[in-house]
Symmetry: C2
Subunit: 106 residues, 2 copies
């Protein structure tokens, strides 16, 4: 079973869950209220997020509050770092120009 952050954030519901708990920790039930799918479906998503360490749990009686794990979120940002210069600089616009010239030559 592949279980990495990239596979985890591939699902829109899981991305929404991350956005919600980024504001404040939430229980599965309170999370499920924000979606059309069942509580179990949401729980399954949480399980996947937990397995790849994107969320941590805080037990409180029979309730479980799920928190986001910033360190793991940063791993996604880290993967993007080498690509950053591509959109931050004007290299990409230069690429476009070169590409256009090349095509015109043909």
């Amino acid at each position: 079973m592949r279980r990495d952050v990239f596979q985890a954030i591939a699902d829109p519901t899981r991305r929404a869950i991350l956005s919600l708990i980024a504001l404040h920790a939430m229980t599965p039930n309170s999370l499920a209220e924000h979606f059309d799918s069942s509580r179990q479906a949401v729980s399954k998503h949480i399980k996947i997020l937990t397995e790849c360490k994107l969320v941590k749990q805080e037990l409180s009686g029979r309730e479980i509050y799920y928190h986001i794990n910033p360190k793991k979120m940063k791993e996604i940002a880290d993967w993007l770092t080498p690509f950053q210069r591509l959109w931050e600089t004007r290299f990409n616009q230069l690429d476009d120009v070169l590409l256009t010239l090349k095509n015109k030559k043909k």
Copy 2:
């Protein structure tokens, strides 16, 4: 068929393809040499990357050079932006402290 950037980068081979063509444009055949899977398999990945606009193609005779599309890559970075403060500031460490205190209380 869901075809967004997040689903696209979920696959490790596709992430590797993006990393390779970020350095310089490549043809499907030259890309396939970097992987164990077949040329067709790589082509299918490229198709997915093309469909979600992460790569652009430059035709040159019978060869097709695939380029990365920085604008689309940035969309991933944009999604991450709201989460940035979670790891860039010391809020996350503060969270850890509060969580520990809460657990001790019980």
